[in-house]
């Protein structure tokens, strides 16, 4: 049994070396941004004191705080050079507008964030939306990959759902024009459609993916989804090496439950993105195991892929921390701490596939801390075997 003290010290030493190597690599290699999208999915680390990067942490509502705890525990034991600026932002805090604005400022300043889901509070504007709109975090990326150790109806899934996250049906423009008649506006703009299309194709190219599918309902919403589709088509012409196809969203949902292996990268407007990413997350194991990354011009936010707070289980420590921990691992990679990120991802996957420690959603009865401990033990083993 290795004591946590020595584990921490070992990791600390390990990561001190990594930092030096990373810094040297950065100095010696040329800037790598050939044909990049408007946003680069790999960040320039913002270093603060002592080589540590400051990252905003927003635990959120429901089981969010418990999941955030898992991440902070793991990062502490790994002695990762990341410092969290923790901002409590949940339903109670929302009454104070100041704390919300502070969270936005913090994210702008740090450029990187890790968050849970914030529940809508009755009186205020929908905060998850404000986050994305105010910070212009416009591209949400959810990668759904089958786990060997999770029993699901389908196997061999590896799709990436890219969702435009700032406009569409989520424009929050509603009015009751006449009593009993409500109009809700869905906005699609050429600018944002082109932007997300370009992001999707760049992402596909960067990650060696072969096909991009545009998901739409232009047969019914001829102007709005028609515009989105036309933008995707135009952008696709700049990427002849990547196959492009279009599919109507109802058919997509059907295909996802019949033959999900056919999908590679999917790009879509806001609402369909919400449905498809949740559907796909359900196919590979549920909200507890799917992470996501969201990008804006100068900002990246990492959070679980299926945004559900699971309020009923708040405080009971039964939620699966895998999704949150995987999101934090992707955040490490974004900060160029690739060795740490990859190690953490491998540890989480090994634990899930081994099926010895399973939280309720995976069919077991382990608690959140037990799962976290399992990740840490696996990390220890992996590090020793390197």
């Amino acid at each position: 049994v290795v004591s946590t003290q020595s584990t921490g010290q070992t990791f600390q030493h390990y990561f001190k070396q990594i930092n030096l190597r990373t810094m040297l690599r950065r100095i010696s290699s040329p800037a790598v941004s050939i044909g990049r999208a408007a946003v680069s999915t790999s960040a320039v680390p913002r270093t603060k004191y002592g080589g540590k990067t400051t990252v905003t942490l927003i635990p959120g509502d429901g089981v969010g705080p418990e999941l955030a705890e898992s991440v902070t525990t793991i990062f502490k034991e790994m002695a990762v050079p990341v410092e969290f600026e923790k901002i409590e932002l949940n339903r109670e805090q929302m009454k104070d507008e100041g704390s919300f604005d502070y969270a936005i400022k913090s994210l702008k300043r740090n450029g990187v964030g890790l968050k849970g889901v914030i529940n809508r509070s009755a009186d205020f504007r929908h905060h998850n939306l404000e986050f994305r709109g105010g910070l212009d975090v416009y591209a949400n990326v959810v990668r759904c990959m089958s786990f060997e150790g999770i029993q699901t109806h389908h196997t061999g899934i590896d799709l990436i759902a890219i969702r435009e996250n700032t406009e569409g049906e989520y424009s929050s423009l509603e009015h009751e024009s006449v009593s009993g008649v409500v109009e809700s506006l869905k906005i699609i703009t050429q600018e944002k459609s082109m932007r997300i299309a370009k992001f999707a194709f760049d992402y596909a190219r960067e990650h060696n993916r072969k096909k991009v599918t545009c998901i739409h309902k232009a047969n019914i919403m001829k102007l709005s989804d028609g515009l989105f589709k036309a933008c995707c088509k135009e952008v696709s012409e700049d990427y002849p090496m990547i196959e492009y196809e279009e599919q109507i969203v109802d058919n997509t949902c059907q295909q996802l439950v019949i033959n999900p292996q056919q999908f590679d990268v999917m790009v879509m407007p806001n609402l369909y993105g919400n449905l498809v990413s949740n559907l796909a997350a359900g196919l590979v194991g549920g909200a507890g195991v799917v992470p996501s990354k969201s990008y804006g011009e100068n900002i990246a936010v990492f959070e679980p892929g299926a945004r559900h707070t699971w309020m009923e289980m708040k405080g009971m420590y039964v939620a699966n921390p895998a999704a949150m921990v995987l999101s934090s691992a992707f955040m490490l990679k974004h900060l160029q701490l690739h060795e740490a990120g990859d190690l953490l991802i491998k540890a989480v996957k090994n634990v899930i596939n081994r099926r010895e420690v399973q939280t309720r959603d995976l069919g077991g009865s382990s608690t959140t801390p037990e799962m976290t401990r399992a990740f840490l033990n696996e990390l220890d083993t992996l590090y020793k075997n390197q």
Binding site: G180, V181, E183, S184, Q190, N219, L227, C253, L256, G286
Partner: protein
């Protein structure tokens, strides 16, 4: 850069029929079909989608505000929401269904989906024996692909209903097996298969009539001809379970008429 021109299309005939007869509720049952094995056959699917059929995102009201900015209007009215809710609860009561869940995104679309939910709740209060809940649409997508057996009757506005009912059709084996009914005022009811025209299968007579047949059975039941409907349904299910005389789309080699003859043979007994 050059302007992007979105395409315009002609007004659909389906839409015209829907509007002419005021078909306000679309009923789409999805039940696992014996003989058609899908990853979900084991736990079994047996749910019904009640979809508002006249408004919502299908209002057809769209305009280009300025070049490059398009807005599409989703219309939700109290009356249409109440009509479909009333039909759903009455259907549930008539068919012995115990649970209704309303699917929505009222966290995002507070006023429109909020109004829809308001009407659902009002109607639910009049049917205390039916268990009524609400669920976010994305949660429902997540949960139904994990365990569809937990879903019974689902009630929702137009767009969600369209997407979700294709999802449930996929769970049972595809649109080729999906029946549907459209309810209008004054007892008008029009039943149709949901799938497309499948022009490539016409000449060789290879189309699968099951969806249309099931739709016909829904019609018979609506007309009160329950025993006849049950008899036909038993014959259809037996034919499908045997898997000897079935059409190509579900793994067989029979033509449309051959499949129909087999069913008739079973009815005659």
């Amino acid at each position: 850069s050059s302007g992007i021109n979105a395409e315009y299309g002609h007004v659909s005939l389906n839409l015209t029929i829907r509007r002419t007869f005021g078909l306000y509720a679309n009923v789409r049952p999805a039940k696992s079909v014996p003989g058609v094995i899908t990853p979900y056959s084991k736990e079994g699917v047996d749910c019904v989608i009640m979809r508002e059929n006249t408004e919502g995102e299908y209002s057809g009201i769209e305009h280009q505000v300025v070049p490059g900015v398009v807005q599409s209007v989703k219309l939700i009215t109290r009356d249409a929401s109440r009509n479909v809710a009333e039909y759903a609860f009455q259907y549930a009561q008539d068919h012995g269904r115990k649970n209704i869940v309303a699917l929505h995104k009222a966290n995002i679309m507070k006023m429109s989906d909020g109004m829809f939910l308001e009407q659902c709740r009002e109607v639910a209060a009049r049917y205390p024996e039916i268990n009524y809940r609400e669920m976010y649409l994305d949660s429902a997508c997540l949960k139904i692909v994990s365990d569809p057996s937990k879903f019974d009757v689902m009630l929702m506005p137009n767009l969600y209903g369209d997407i979700f009912s294709d999802l449930t059709a996929g769970l049972i084996g595809g649109l080729g097996l999906a029946p549907s009914g459209n309810m209008g005022k004054d007892g008008i009811a029009i039943y149709e298969a949901v799938h497309g025209t499948a022009d490539d299968l016409v000449e060789a007579n290879k189309g699968n009539p099951t969806a249309l047949l099931m739709s016909g059975l829904m019609m018979l039941r609506h007309m009160g001809l329950k025993s006849q409907a049950d008899k036909i349904e038993a014959a259809v299910l037996e034919t499908l379970t045997e898997r000897k005389v079935i059409t190509g789309d579900i793994g067989g080699t029979a033509t449309n008429p051959e499949y129909a003859d087999e069913i008739c043979r079973k009815i005659r007994g």
